[in-house]
């Protein structure tokens, strides 16, 4: 039953999410059933008007939301196919550490940590030695043109643009197998957009699969192999 064609990293079938608010006795449908697939080395774009439930889909894949129905199959490093709907929490945590990364539009970081540590953290999780991780993090921050004198301080005081670049560096660094992008590229300036496109392409070429929510059609055109528009049809 857990059959997943070999070229697929992730397949989502009829995934839906609804909430029930006990206090008001009210059920809210967040997203209608959606189907999508992600292949290694390719980016699947999730588009559609706001409020249609794109983020809910991504969060349900990441288990930040509990799916209300449907199927999510994932092929892990070892080639084993497992359901992200039913996998135990400890397994989900393991996958989050090693394989599946979730990048939001906001930089969520532990307070009082240096920017360098924040960017390097996903590498620590992957088990890369601290010194190596730090060098790699530095390289990514350079790539995203973050001034050297900011590397050692916490991003708390950074501008919106700087935070966004730190966020993307942290999101793209290292070797996860699947990256879930929840609109991390909203309102990028032209220059940064070019850097992001190049960095994403590079990571795709290394075989990382991505599922991304984008609003900017240019980015979709530049990066996506498949576009799932959540009005219903797939393009």
């Amino acid at each position: 039953m857990n059959d997943l064609p070999l070229d697929l990293l992730l397949r989502v079938r009829q995934l839906r999410k609804s909430f029930f608010l006990h206090e008001r006795g009210l059920g809210i449908d967040s997203s209608r059933p959606v189907d999508l697939e992600v292949r290694a080395g390719e980016l699947t774009a999730l588009t559609g008007p706001s409020g249609v439930g794109k983020s809910s889909v991504v969060k349900a894949i990441y288990r930040t939301y509990l799916p209300s129905g449907g199927e999510i199959l994932y092929r892990d490093t070892a080639g084993r196919v497992e359901s992200l709907v039913t996998a135990p929490e400890s397994r989900i945590l393991e996958l989050r550490r090693r394989e599946i990364r979730y990048v939001t539009q906001f930089l969520h970081f532990l307070p009082r940590r240096s920017t360098l540590d924040i960017v390097a953290e996903p590498l620590w999780q992957e088990g890369i030695p601290a010194a190596e991780a730090e060098a790699e993090a530095r390289a990514w921050l350079h790539r995203f043109k973050l001034p050297e004198n900011l590397h050692g301080v916490s991003p708390a005081t950074f501008s919106g643009g700087e935070k966004q670049r730190v966020n993307l560096a942290r999101g793209l660094i290292g070797s996860p197998r699947l990256i879930l992008l929840d609109e991390p590229t909203a309102s990028l300036d032209k220059h940064t957009a070019a850097i992001v496109i190049e960095a994403v392409r590079e990571q795709l070429s290394r075989g990382i699969g991505m599922l991304g929510i984008f609003h900017d059609p240019e980015l979709v055109a530049a990066l996506a192999t498949t576009e799932i528009c959540m009005n219903g049809e797939s393009i």
């Binding site: 006990h22 288990r63 930040t64 509990l66 400890s90 945590l93 009082r112 620590w124």
Partner: protein, 277 residues
Amino acid sequence: MKPILDVKGLTRIHGKSCDGCLAATGPKVGGNQCPHCGSIVACADVSFQLMEGEILGIIGESGSGKSTVIRLLYMLDQALAGGALLHGGEESAIDLMALNRAQARQLRDRHMGIVHQNPRLGLNYQISAGGNIAERLLMSGNRRYHDIRRIASELLVRTEVPVSRMDDFPGTFSGGMQQRVQIAKALSTRPRLLLLDEVTTGLDLSVQARILDLILELQRELGISMIVVTHDLGVIRLLASRTLVMKTGRIVESGLTDQVLQDPQHAYTQQLVASAL
């Protein structure tokens, strides 16, 4: 990931208890006092797993039974029913609920640590900060004075307590520093399991932040498995990868911390998250 602790059906009732206690209490009824016999169900049927190197959060309001769970696991109280298997080490798994006093003490001294909300419960104010750490080392069988001095000073450095204060009495320390000494003491025997009971409650914000940072660093460096009991969602968000939500002595919900906070299922959890701003 291997489990380090397997908790099954942990139950503690204050009072004589009757057959109807469990059915007549709990979140559905909204209370934990048995209407038949008047007993208080402190916790009932608490089951969970703690993985190696994991920080598990237990959240709930006062009286929800979260501290009871900690006290049972640290073998300060006796459970009415249930078991808690501690894995790891050379021996096969040990049921914490089945140990006698001496066995419990030995296990506690060697493999477990606790940090209380109130440092007065965890520290002896008649002896120096170093002496408090020494006590735990001595309990675990290390009797070399110079060794103990060295380990204690290393731990104080690690927990950011000035080593120059090592021979002072804890009563002369600030609240945050007392908490750090407690943590140093708990860590001294390199425990497999660390229990943290509202460790930052009542401290001012900057002190809280530094203690939480310390706990995270320790988890990362030493890979100690921890259970963090708190009523503060912020603490849970920062520390715990998974969270149990308790109410009237029962676990009403459990899940990945971000899921519990962003997609709470139980009415009580929704209320809790909604009231936390």
